[in-house]
């Protein structure tokens, strides 16, 4: 009960003191969904610069990255936010997986260790977000416990969520599966890599961020 009261007080205080431009927009999801690719696309579109490096090897982003004061416009609408790119959330990390893709032993161990810290940080930061974009690989099965746990935790914290089904440039892409798995949320199909349908993404972002 105390927890509920504390959450309520925090929410009221946050709303009272939230200034325009101080909205924290988090990018969450499993590894290799395309969070940093989308972060780069947003930053390129509105700031003309990249946010972080991307790779086909999982856990490329192992630290929280923040880009402040991104201002996006669509017609008369305007939204300013701090973009928070988070490491992918996983329930298992095996350094041997990195050896299989050609990394040296020390490099693989170090990447695995950093990746575990990254997951911990991502979960710790959940409470600080004002709006969250869940970035899922639209070619993969969305019905994983990691996805369900992240979305469930955001719902419990009453944080607005937009689901992005990424990689709609690929043949295996299936947005219907994602919509069926999370019917209570808006799902937007995009290709962050090629910028396909990102206009629809920005429209949806305006709607969800002002909730």
């Amino acid at each position: 009960m105390l927890n509920i009261i504390q959450k309520f007080i925090n929410k009221v205080l946050n709303n009272l003191f939230k200034k325009k431009g101080h909205i924290k927009l988090g990018l969450y999801g499993p590894p290799n969904g395309g969070k940093t690719t989308l972060a780069n696309k947003i930053c390129q579109d509105w700031l003309g610069e990249d946010m972080g490096s991307v790779s086909n090897i999982a856990h490329e982003t192992r630290e929280i990255q923040i880009k402040e004061q991104i201002n996006i416009k669509s017609g008369k609408k305007e939204l300013t936010f701090n973009l928070v790119d988070t490491p992918g959330i996983a329930t298992k990390i095996d350094y041997e997986d990195f050896l299989k893709v050609g990394m040296k032993d020390n490099e693989a161990k170090s990447r695995a260790k950093e990746a575990t810290k990254g997951v911990i940080d991502s979960i710790k930061w959940l409470d600080d977000m004002d709006t969250v974009i869940i970035v899922l690989d639209g070619t993969k099965d969305p019905y994983t416990q990691v996805n369900i746990t992240i979305i469930g935790n955001l719902a419990a914290r009453e944080i607005p969520v937009l689901i992005v089904a990424n990689k709609n440039d690929l043949k295996k892409f299936n947005i219907k599966k994602i919509k069926a798995a999370f019917p209570q949320y808006d799902v937007i199909g995009i290709s962050a890599k090629y910028g396909k349908d990102t206009d629809k993404f920005y429209e949806a972002l305006f709607t969800v961020a002002v909730k």
Partner: protein, 135 residues
């Protein structure tokens, strides 16, 4: 050989969140697959992932996790639904089933809302064993 350990909800009912996670993880770290009656709170699920990450080392690679939710509460309406929600908030969620396995034993848990498919790995023979648990 794969060992399954059934944990009735009554065994974790009186424990704190930290205690629940500790108990379940200790079983998993003995290379056993936990079948927990009911489910953890959403925050506890996230905490379980966090604690798992803190404990990963060369012997413990993490966990595979899946929760099958019960449809019973979803079918209820009006006052019955309110009562069920209140009961869940007060005494915990005893409906459904939570499966937690060590990543060294469980290769993957494929799931849809009504069934889960557990793929285990046999380290010595490199042979996959398929098990199906249906509601």
């Amino acid at each position: 050989m794969v060992t399954l350990q059934l944990v009735p909800y009554s065994e974790i009912e009186l424990l704190s969140s930290v205690g629940r996670i500790r108990k379940l993880l200790n079983i998993v770290k003995e290379d056993k697959i936990v079948l927990l009656q009911g489910r953890l709170k959403k925050e506890e699920e996230a905490e379980l992932i966090k604690v798992t990450m803190e404990e990963i080392n060369k012997d413990f690679k993490g966990i595979e996790l899946a929760v099958i939710e019960s449809n019973i509460n979803k079918k209820l309406t009006g006052m019955s639904r309110f009562k069920a929600t209140l009961a869940t908030a007060l005494i915990g969620d005893r409906q459904g089933l939570t499966v937690i396995g060590p990543a060294s034993v469980v290769k993957e848990i494929k799931r849809d809302p009504s069934k889960i498919e557990l793929l285990t790995k046999e380290v010595r023979k490199k042979k996959k064993i398929r098990k199906k648990i249906k509601r």
